[in-house]
Subunit: 344 residues, 2 copies
């Protein structure tokens, strides 16, 4: 992190492009094709090049900062490693383009007005918002502020589907869940339960739909569904509910990895063997999944990559703001892939 | 978090004060005595009252936001629970006074210029900075920006001691370390090793001094000192170094709890019993300390409380900025207390 500051020339030599190309990329990238832009940005990141943004902001009237709002209390932001991974992807991408990440921490709904005022106050160039709930006021705040915004997760609010300008990055939650449940069917499981996430979030709804797809159902068997909230404690409680019914399940598809670790805890406490008595599958492939006892079968999504893509989309929209032509940014949906381990 | 928004009148009734007093507290607190101010702020927090800051900021020219800069890469911010706890204290205190916390994430030293520009750009009312290292550029940036700033941890940079305006919150690291090592002496340990933190931070230096105080030394026995970096991996490595020397230690004072959990890992891998063969004491009293195997003796500091006090000091300095009289904010040093568990 030390040493002399690299120059524009050093970046040009490293990327094998002209000084003018580096300058264009650093100042927004208009008129530079994507492959070239990527190469220059990689060199900028590797050398730690810091352009003279003070001069740049005089021209572009930018603040050089992007707000990140996670629609969860700060206690969840710091206890669920999902958010840390997503922020890592965002932070690296923004830093590589000399843009400051401002994480706006919040305690509850009463903080939203204040966040809306700050966003509308001209202190940031754009916003990234994720973990939104159905009745979240954030999308309309983003809209009212006039700030370019990219969402994490498929937007679920009324009217979202008809808005062609809406930018978001999501993963194929429905397809991932389907793979997980098909895998359990292939292992001969016949009473496959589901512990949902919070059903006011599209990720939880889509995973439930994937579960139903695999089983060929239009709605879940009430005996085999319990509601969680994407936390370990929620998984613990939901698993206990499922086991208190008779006959119990021989497999569980948990809404995410934290939920699955909670379910494992309850199964252990009740003296049930995993996977012999009950197979368990999670979702996310956090580090904890591989460490769990037994190691957790789960659905892998590229969480850090999704953060990076959110930042990329926003930076591209900011660049396009002042330029004509160029590729139009569009929503991205990344694939999900089953990772089989000992728990199933 | 839902329900109708509470009014100024509701806060006044709840706190048992006049409407004017609530208004004065909400608008800076000048001329309101501390006990009354605390009572009103508690009611504001409990009811979730959101004052009309848009109007307020027209009068006060405030942005309503405070920047928090942690002088560590974001990977450490999200992996060391110390930071989450400190941020929790800060976030709650700021939210209670309708002030937005902006966490400025950074990847490395090359990001500091950008942070300095943002701080100087008029986008925040003040800054909280912690985990500073000896040659950190942050204090001079804070100075150059003209922003009221409160530091976490005793400032260690040249000239800091002579600056009567400097505000910081620290804990009695030296006294806490002395308690830890005196406890090991009382348990009959005679070869007490130390694993330091990064010695460019005052917290690590002060804990080393406390270790030396308890042993009546002016510098450590080279056979009984190893250098860590406040991470579990660093503790693992340092413990291995200590055990590779002969004769080995019969006790270890680790720089913090993460370091201690790393040391426990190495001791387990070498087949040594804790505390029979080697006693271990940590520092911080994170949740992990109580869960460790065996449960960790450690030095408790009120981390969340320290975050709260940093925010309080800053808010008071901001209030005093526009007012005459009132209590002058001053640095705070909180006590540290030994918590004895199975590892010693």
């Amino acid at each position: 992190m030390h040493g002399p500051r690299p120059t524009l020339e050093a970046v040009a030599a490293h990327a094998g492009v002209s000084r003018a190309t580096v300058s264009r990329v650093v100042n927004g990238g208009a008129g530079v094709r994507k492959s070239l832009r990527d190469r220059v940005q990689a060199s900028v990141a590797e050398l730690g090049y810091v352009p003279n943004s003070a001069a740049r902001s005089l021209v572009t009237r930018r603040t050089g900062a992007v707000a990140v709002v996670i629609a969860e209390p700060e206690t969840r932001v710091f206890s669920d490693p999902f958010f840390a991974q997503q922020l890592r992807g965002i932070s690296r991408e923004l830093a590589a383009c000399d843009t400051q990440l401002l994480l706006m921490l919040l305690e509850g709904r009463t903080d939203y007005d204040r966040i809306g005022r700050y966003l509308a106050g001209g202190h940031v160039d754009g916003a990234l918002m994720f973990s939104l709930h159905r009745d979240d006021p954030l999308p309309s705040m983003a809209n009212a502020s006039g700030l370019p915004t990219v969402f994490g997760g498929r937007p679920g609010w009324p009217g979202a589907e008809d808005d062609p300008e809406l930018l978001y990055v999501d993963t194929d939650n429905r397809g991932g869940a389907r793979q997980a449940v098909e895998h359990l069917l292939q292992r001969g499981r016949r009473r496959i339960a589901v512990i949902t996430g919070p059903l006011d979030q599209t990720s939880a709804l889509d995973r439930l739909d994937g579960y139903l797809d695999a089983l060929g159902l239009s709605e879940p068997d009430p005996a085999l569904v319990a509601h969680g909230d994407f936390t370990a404690e929620g998984g613990e409680r939901a698993m206990a509910e499922l086991l208190d019914r008779s006959p119990g399940p021989d497999a569980v598809f948990a809404g995410n990895d934290l939920t699955a670790t909670g379910a494992l805890r309850t199964l252990r406490a009740r003296g049930l063997r995993v996977p012999q008595d009950v197979a368990v599958v999670g979702y996310d492939d956090l580090e904890q999944a591989a460490w769990a006892e037994p190691a957790l079968t789960t659905v892998r999504q590229d969480i850090q990559g999704m953060g990076r893509m959110m930042a990329e989309l926003l930076l591209r929209r900011l660049e396009l703001g002042g330029a004509s032509g160029g590729e139009r940014p569009a929503p991205v949906v990344t694939p999900a892939r089953l990772v089989v381990r000992a728990s199933s």
